[in-house]
């Protein structure tokens, strides 16, 4: 049964679905209803060690680096408008393939060209992140963050992390000033 999380809430993925091998992390948002530049949201993932930093730039998975070097984390590609039902961008994670020194995966979303287009998350309708079992399609947790966003242009939506031998998911919903570059530098990427 899927858990609807609010900001700060967490759920044990291992307990909810012990058989899960592959994680599907979906990001979605509604196409812009008003006139003006489309909202182009970009999902990215940072593979972080216990220090909260990436091991190398290759641990930053985004539209220009769709796959981690070990292949365990894969971004399936860029959607530029939010058009279509369901997930607009998807990241797949092979949980057993995630290197042991990776303690946490931070799933982030940035608004492309937000400054030029004068856009922020508060304007985007229907933004969510959800976690599902890729093989069964069963949704495990979902976080609708439309109400928690305001003037941010980059957000840490959620994180999948190890805790006492389990994988857990936390709805973070934390804004970050500046966009993808500063966000990446924050996590130790030489962007």
């Amino acid at each position: 049964m899927s858990v609807s999380l609010s900001k700060g809430g967490n759920v044990s993925l291992s307990k909810t679905d012990p058989s899960m091998k592959n994680l599907h992390v979906g990001l979605g948002w509604d196409i812009r209803a008003t006139d003006g530049d489309a909202y182009d949201l970009d999902a990215s993932v940072f593979l972080l060690t216990s220090t909260g930093k990436v091991r190398s730039d290759g641990d930053f998975i985004f539209y220009n680096n769709l796959k981690s070097s070990d292949g365990s984390v894969e971004h399936t590609g860029d959607n530029k408008t939010g058009e279509g039902e369901g997930d607009d961008e998807v990241v797949n994670v092979n949980l057993d393939g995630v290197p042991a020194e990776v303690d946490k995966m931070a799933f982030c979303v940035t608004i492309h060209d937000a400054e030029t287009r004068k856009q922020s998350f508060g304007q985007v309708q229907g933004a969510f992140i959800r976690v599902a079992n890729k093989d069964s399609g069963t949704e495990l947790a979902r976080y609708d963050l439309s109400e928690d966003a305001s003037t941010e242009t980059a957000m840490i939506f959620g994180e999948v992390y190890r805790a006492s031998g389990e994988w857990k998911f936390r709805a973070v919903g934390q804004g970050f000033v500046g966009g993808l570059g500063p966000l990446a530098r924050n996590f130790g990427v030489n962007a």
Binding site: T34, S120, Q123, E147, S150, T151
Partner: protein
């Protein structure tokens, strides 16, 4: 007092615990732009509940009485007084819109704001500027909506299309068989001549002016004044006609809010200008009335007359 930026949202309870609020909306421009400011009361599906839940100058009170159009007040172009506690339970979102009537775009405005005033004190404000917009003719300025209590959202987004686009966005139907006054396309100016059925109606109050220029011919198919009035799709009763007098043959005209002189928002200056403009052609006010248009809408009507020849 917090200033909101576009896209910012907040619980109303973070700013005030009052349930009786004034929502003040202001727009200023160097040019002489004309604005309609409306409040759409929407249901849980973001649909306008019905026409009566579109509150504006011409429908100043929602059916539950909880939304009132106050008009210009306290320095704001338009104020809505909202009693959140008295709103019908089906109303879960109030959307405040600004629509430019006639030319211009929102980029032409100098500045404006939406603010909330509770118990006489401003509790929050969302300022916006022409530079925030490009070619929008209508915008959703801000909204109050229910989600674990009431929240305020600074929206500041809109449409290149005007009011029709807004109405369509909220599920309204423009091309309906029963046009509502604000949604219907602008009617042509009232026919220049709409002779009343009885040409011997009063000449009382006629100005002793020189004979007016010969009237243009009646428009084809123009029938009794009822046809002009039926523009509104409702029955109009005119009151105040004097006793019948004998006098020169008369012609009459019904001036309405659809008239070219005061299309749009009713204001006294425009009415005055319209009456003066017609007076220069020899027309004299015979009576005025308001016509009920169903629901709580009323429209101002003026009956003018002048002797033929």
């Amino acid at each position: 007092m917090p200033e909101f930026a576009r896209g910012q949202k907040s619980r109303l309870s973070d700013h005030t615990n009052a349930t009786e609020l004034n929502v003040g909306i202001d727009v200023s421009s160097a040019q002489n732009l004309v604005f309609d400011i409306c409040c759409f009361a929407l249901d849980a599906n973001d649909r306008l509940i019905d026409d009566d839940h579109l509150v504006f100058f011409n429908n100043p009170v929602s059916p539950d009485g909880a939304i009132r159009s106050v008009g210009p007040h306290g320095g704001d172009e338009q104020v809505f007084s909202i009693n959140l506690a008295a709103l019908s339970p089906s109303v879960v979102r109030l959307v405040f819109t600004i629509n430019l009537e006639g030319g211009g775009t929102m980029a032409d405005i100098a500045r404006g704001h939406v603010r909330i005033v509770a118990a006489g004190a401003e509790v929050l404000k969302y300022p916006y500027y022409g530079a925030d917009f490009t070619n929008e003719q209508s915008i959703i300025a801000a909204e109050l909506y229910q989600r674990d209590g009431w929240r305020f959202g600074a929206v500041g987004q809109g449409f290149v299309g005007g009011l029709e686009t807004l109405v369509r966005t909220f599920g309204g139907d423009i091309a309906s068989d029963s046009p509502s006054p604000i949604l219907a396309p602008p009617a042509p100016a009232a026919p220049p001549l709409a002779p009343l059925a009885s040409p011997s109606l009063p000449a009382a109050g006629l100005a002793p002016s020189p004979p007016p220029p010969p009237p243009p011919p009646p428009p084809p198919g123009a029938a009794a004044p009822v046809s002009a009035l039926s523009l509104f799709g409702s029955t109009v009763s005119l009151t105040g006609l004097g006793p019948q007098l004998s006098g020169p043959p008369m012609e009459y005209k019904v001036l309405t809010q659809r008239d070219r002189f005061f299309a749009g928002k009713l204001n006294a200056d425009q009415v005055e200008q319209a009456i003066m403009a017609y007076a220069s052609e020899g027309w004299v006010m015979i009576s005025s009335a308001t016509a009920a248009l169903g629901g709580r809408r009323e429209e101002y009507l003026a009956l003018l007359g002048r002797p033929i020849g």
